[in-house]
């Protein structure tokens, strides 16, 4: 089955499913995570990302499928056959789960003591990791006496001191306040680079995933929607869910055919109106195009393939301005963002244009999807 012998793959998740009663938490999930990669599992709550993470760590048993991890020599280990304490994988819990009755040093040493390492080696490795996370002066403190950011560092230190092949992080930044969170995002990225461990982060915060991860798996309803790097996810989403979940944008409904993308929106006469669009997925039938705010240009004169609209709101944010434009036949307004001050006044009649390559055609949700 493993025809592809890519030496760069560390973790291979193949067709993993898990149901709780009738609720399907994971539905045929497959993905490959590369060595030294910062990988994010992104999705709304209940999408299955945490279940997948816990299945890798060993705290959930998938109903079917396989999860294997490879070592340096290319040999593969079946993770699912091992109990959590025998897996070369560590998990940083959302609550950090620091042992309250042990000080920082004892917390970090706990995992090494379980490996029956010598006292001198344990001491040396704990000292080293304390320095890496900058907590050398807090080694005697109990977790209760630490700030949120410091606790997070201890949890991270406790996991990386084991030198796992894979570090799993469950919503690592959600317990921190906004300011500390931004700091720790950079810190996590720096640490991952420094220790050279593959990180898999679970998050529901798309900005967090976009700013930290090399690649992101977007999940919904227990299924993988798309796996790609942040720029591809933003500019070439696979489907409406990904387009909607990542970044901001406007969807314009219509019909895709070999001729192009036609729409009734804009009230430009009967029979539909051809709009500039890019159809990399060769979608046929009911479809939408997704327009990012910065892709839409406004002009005063009509050009071929432009949509008419009315400026209803403008906001100037110093460096850039955001305008809200209503288009006849479209039930939600189009948002545009341009550098500099707004070029059009509220109440002005404008035309919307965009380069064809920036308007991605996506299959419209079927009636079945809408029921869900």
């Amino acid at each position: 089955m493993n025809i592809k012998t890519d030496n760069n793959t560390l973790l291979r998740i193949d067709n993993v499913s898990k149901a709780y009663g009738t609720a399907r938490a994971l539905n045929g999930v497959s993905m490959e995570i590369n060595r030294n990669e910062f990988f994010a599992l992104l999705g709304p709550s209940g999408c299955g990302k945490t279940t997948l993470l816990r299945a890798i760590a060993g705290f959930e048993d998938p109903d079917s499928g396989s999860i294997t991890i490879s070592d340096e020599t290319g040999g593969e280990t079946d993770l699912l056959s091992l109990p959590p304490n025998k897996r070369p994988v560590n998990l940083m819990f959302q609550s950090y789960a620091l042992f309250p009755h042990m000080n920082v040093r004892k917390n970090i040493a706990y995992g090494l003591e379980r490996e029956k390492l010598s006292h001198s080696e344990i001491a040396a490795r704990v000292d080293e990791v304390l320095e890496t996370v900058g907590l050398t002066d807090k080694s005697k403190a109990r977790p209760a006496h630490l700030s949120g950011g410091q606790r997070q560092r201890v949890a991270l230190a406790r996991a990386i001191v084991k030198r796992p092949r894979l570090l799993l992080l469950d919503e690592p930044l959600s317990a921190l306040d906004r300011k500390v969170r931004a700091e720790m995002q950079l810190e996590l990225k720096r640490l991952q680079h420094e220790v050279g461990i593959t990180f898999v982060v679970v998050t529901h915060d798309q900005e967090e995933a976009m700013s930290m991860a090399d690649r992101i798996a977007v999940m919904d309803n227990g299924e993988v929607q798309q796996i790609a790097d942040p720029i591809t996810l933003y500019t070439r989403p696979n489907n409406i869910f990904v387009a909607d979940f990542i970044g901001k944008g406007t969807l314009i409904p219509g019909v895709a055919s070999p001729v192009g993308f036609t729409t009734q929106v804009g009230a430009l006469g009967t029979g539909g109106h051809l709009l500039p669009a890019n159809n990399p997925g060769n979608v046929h039938g009911a479809a939408v195009i997704m327009l990012r705010p910065e892709a839409v240009h406004l002009s005063r004169e009509h050009r071929s393939g432009s949509l008419p609209g009315l400026v209803v709101e403008t906001h100037f944010y110093g460096g850039s301005s955001v305008s809200t434009i209503t288009v006849p036949g479209l039930d939600h307004p189009v948002i545009t963002r341009r550098p500099g001050p707004p070029e059009h006044a509220v109440g002005e009649q404008v035309y919307l244009n965009w380069p064809a390559e920036d308007a991605i055609v996506l299959a419209a949700p079927t009636a079945q999807d809408q029921v869900n």
């Binding site: 959590p84 304490n85 209760a144």
Partner: protein
């Protein structure tokens, strides 16, 4: 600080109401007079007599045997019961049944246990008192430990497993220490409850081995002697020592 003014009055009265009898009792235990309520000068004579009284000494030994063994048994069983209920069953009904002996009226529990012992053909002795004390003691320990479990992060044990700890290591290094304040508090509670427990002991004990509260009861029937004041003062000292050390230990082991 806000002025409370007149609120000091009811506060003072409440404390007087609570502690006057105790203070009088302790003072009277040092009274040289044989009649309990006439002061005739300071004396430790009753304490000396207390220690020479065979009946009281035997009662004290019996009580200690029961209290110490009941505390040990009830603490172990109650802790396991608490872990079992909150980890593996999560059933409100099961929990209610486990904790019920702590709230069932002593009299009902005593009669029930007596009926049980005679049905099983058990000769009433210190052993039957001990078993009876374990019944309600276990419920008290379980109640305290379950409350403690509610406050501890349930992912601690998963974290231990994740870091390479097997089930046994996780139990002894993580589960037990994180529950320790609750377990210690429960044990001290059972000890103090068993120490002066009368109703259940009276029903389930054999005639040859009276515990201290039963000895005191039979003595008081002929009037309160200064000797009993001295005994009560000593019991008070023991209880205070235990409660204060319980608080100290809980604070030390706690993560606060």
């Amino acid at each position: 600080m806000p002025k409370i003014g007149w609120l000091r009055l009811p506060l003072t009265l409440t404390y007087l109401f609570l502690y006057t009898p105790i203070v009088v009792l302790v003072i009277m235990s040092f009274n040289a007079s044989k009649t309990p309520f006439v002061w005739k000068g300071f004396s430790t004579r009753w304490y000396t007599e207390l220690f020479q009284d065979d009946l009281i000494r035997q009662g004290f030994i019996n009580t200690m045997i029961v209290a110490v063994s009941a505390t040990i048994l009830a603490t172990i069983l109650g802790t396991l019961l608490a872990i079992g209920i909150s980890r593996y069953f999560r059933s409100a009904i099961l929990e209610a049944y486990a904790l019920a002996p702590a709230i069932i009226p002593d009299l009902a529990l005593a009669i029930g246990l007596l009926a049980f012992f005679s049905l099983m053909g058990v000769t009433l002795s210190l052993v039957s008192v001990l078993l009876s004390h374990v019944v309600f003691g276990m419920a008290f320990v379980a109640a305290v430990v379950i409350a403690r479990m509610g406050q501890t992060d349930s992912s601690l044990e998963e974290a231990s497993r994740d870091l390479g700890g097997n089930a046994l290591t996780t139990f002894f290094k993580i589960t037990l220490p994180s529950l320790a304040p609750g377990i210690i508090a429960g044990a001290l509670l059972v000890f103090t409850l068993s120490l002066d427990e009368f109703v259940v002991a009276y029903f389930t004990n054999g005639p040859a081995t009276p515990t201290l509260p039963i000895v005191i009861y039979s003595m008081v029937r002929f009037g309160v002697t200064p000797e009993i004041n001295a005994l009560a003062a000593l019991l008070l000292l023991v209880s205070f020592t235990f409660v204060i050390s319980a608080q100290r230990i809980t604070r030390l082991t706690d993560s606060v």
